[in-house]
Amino acid sequence: MARYILTRLLLMLPTLLGVAVLTFLLLRVVPGDVVTLKYSGEGAYVPRETIEAERERLGLNQPLWKQFVDWVWGVARLDFGTSMWTGRPIAQEIAIRFQLSLQLAIMATLIAVLLALPLGTLAALKQDTWVDYAIRVFSIAGLATPSFWLGIVLILFLLILFRWSPPVTFTPLFEDPLANLSLLIWPALAVGYRYSAVATRMTRSTLLEVLREDYIRTARAKGLRERAVVVRHGLRNALLPVVTVIGLEFAFLIGGLVVTEQVFNLNGLGKLMVEAISRRDYTLTQALTMLGAAVYVVVNFIIDIVYVLLDPRVSYS
């Protein structure tokens, strides 16, 4: 068991390294230079020497392998460097936006789970009735509607009906819960709806399978109440794949909500990522990509371990 955990841990490293190399190379293939963009992005003319001097200072003229090694060595020491565009430490840039992105991800997940579990269970229990169809249509609609579209409609709805728009800046939850929640509840709903769609369908289909199993029939034959059968025996076993799906989607939420953040004007990691790439801010883009990849890989790792612990049928291979 311990060996399995260790192996999985070690396997994370080549993945992360691969992502690092891929990001590094991809960025340098793309045309556009952070210094030129910063100085003469709006068309003003700047002499060649000044641009070269700045590139030199940022270390952009060094050989690629050296730049890569310097960067990786810095990451290993938890020094993520400074942003090429603003000059501020990257850890600071990320910290400013991290709180919002994390809170949004958690809120969206909560909404998704609160919607998915009851709805999925209901749909499974009432399979092929109009209740089932209604729930299925509801959840597929969530998958089919572009979430940014939903966001736009939501904001317009608030403006037209209530003459009210969400706050435009972020206040931390414990400073001013009302302002904080009135900003984040709307994107959380828009994102959570879509998220719940995936989880609802998964809940429904796994529960359906589980309810066909022999041990369920045994439980019923034993005379247990339907609710105990469903919840204690059925849902618990069906939960595993659902948790997987929820976990994978959560990993995406950190830094993946680019369009949502734009529509709701949120100062989050997704927006930061878009700006970093448009500005060809190599160090910041690399750091953000690594962050996203790390979250994904860690979540996968946790899911694998949970699977092994909870499902006796899965082997350690």
Partner: protein, 588 residues
Amino acid sequence: MFRSRGQRLVRGSWLSRLVTLTVMLTLACSGASQPAPSGGGGASAPRPTGAGGQPAAGAASAPAGAGGAPSAASPGGAAWGEGLQPKRGGELVFVVGAEPPSFDGHRESTFAMLHWTAPHYSLLVTFDPFDYPRVVGDVAESWEISPDGLTYTFKLRDNVKFHDGTPLTARDVKATYDKIIFPPPGVVSARRAVYSAVERVDAPDPHTVVFTLKYPQPAMLSLLASPFNFLYKADILEQDPHWYERNVLGSGPFRFVEYVPGSHWVGRRYEDYHIPGQPYLDGFRAIFVRDPAAQVAAIRGGRAQIEFRGFAPSQRDDLVRALGNEIVVQESPWTCSLYVAFNNERPPFNDVRFRKALTLAVDRWGGSQALSQIAIVKEVGGLQRPGSPFAVPPDQLVTFAGYGRDINAARQQARQLLREAGVPEGFTFTLKNRDVPMPYEPVGIFLVDQWRRIGLNVNHVQQESGPFLNDLRSGEYEASVDFNCDFMDEPDLQLAKFLSADKSPANYGRYNDPVLDDLYDRQSRELNVEARKQLVWQYERRVLDEQVYAMVVLWWQRIVPHHASVKGWKITPSHYVNQDLRTVWLAQ
């Protein structure tokens, strides 16, 4: 029953077409005839000449649009509270659509730096907030220009202090302008070339600054009023000329309080400001909102009061429709133009007949009517903003290729020129464009459509800023949309872009023309205003009509809807000017 419903539908569409046509005709007629009332938006009528004392060119106006858009509140001076007594107090909240690449005014040329930082700094001289382009003193109390135009002597106020309490003296002004005009190596000064006439800057005593010119340049006083010329502290510049890129310390009406990257920027009134009574506001809060729809939502929902750059017509209409009397709209022609750069080295763009055909094919007058409904462009003009002192007068402008009123005749001529140049029907080329929605995208779509009508097949390619600029600079393009925004209407600024490529690095057209260079130099030094105008017009004719090195499409229109409580801010043709907020007050 079926038939009558169908008939009703048909009549309905007929009706809307008629309405549209009528409104457009009305607009066309009213635009072309008598001059607008004083202080009106830049119409095509000739304006009284003279570089100074030019009446301000902005006005609040009701948004006009096909289909009956709702009208806004009070036109004219009531928009900015003309004649009213300013009230003290309150915090102004405004939105800005982009974040600052750095805080250094000398280095940047973008509103994305200026709107955040301008309230913290003073200038030597500045434009009168209510009478653009009249120059008034900010830190300078008075000035004298020698009769030969070579010496400018400024007397400074003695009560100006930086926010750390130290006095601002001539030494600081000299250090600032030395940085702008003679930057040390490694320091970027975006407007260095603008002041190439300056020989040196001296500070003979703590309250006197002297600019000595190599040759007389009548535009120099206005050029010194550039809103980007923030006055910095000499001590700091001596220690570290890059300090101001990431730090703020000025002598302006507001102190710097905080900046949360990606979120907001806060300033508070500076109590020791050198103009007594100002600023009226207790402070300001600038919020970064990138998405235009989100900007409108913020103002509409009462989260912000104003956005200083400008909104699209549809956004203005939404705000007016939603908030009625609570919203005031100020509109003004904008000192920004959209033009098409041709790569004069690439065939067939190296053939003047082909270039001329391209400019003839575009219906600017019709396009102006149509595009001004959906985009922030409006006026038809040459290289100078229509309505500005040196703009080519309308009767001459219509004789330029592509500016005539008869589009069919122009297109016929265009087809003829295409045949002569040996360009086949269905010829394909690429038009490069920025991926910014407003106004680049609609104008790009419009151009593609116009060129289709003379049988040309155009590929519209939109690129991010990085690759877009790269391609422009390196000549990796055939035709490209480009823009030109300056802080004021001044031929020295607007015409400089079209000088020979070896003289002007901002010229992407890849051509050299000594005749142009000579005309430019002569107009820049010409002290007689009428003679100067003739030279400017000759320059324009050569660029736009004779050689068609580039073509101007339309000039931008600045539309700023804001809460009626915001007073003391009058719109000007430049979105860089008048942003220190010292005259702004809130009526509650």
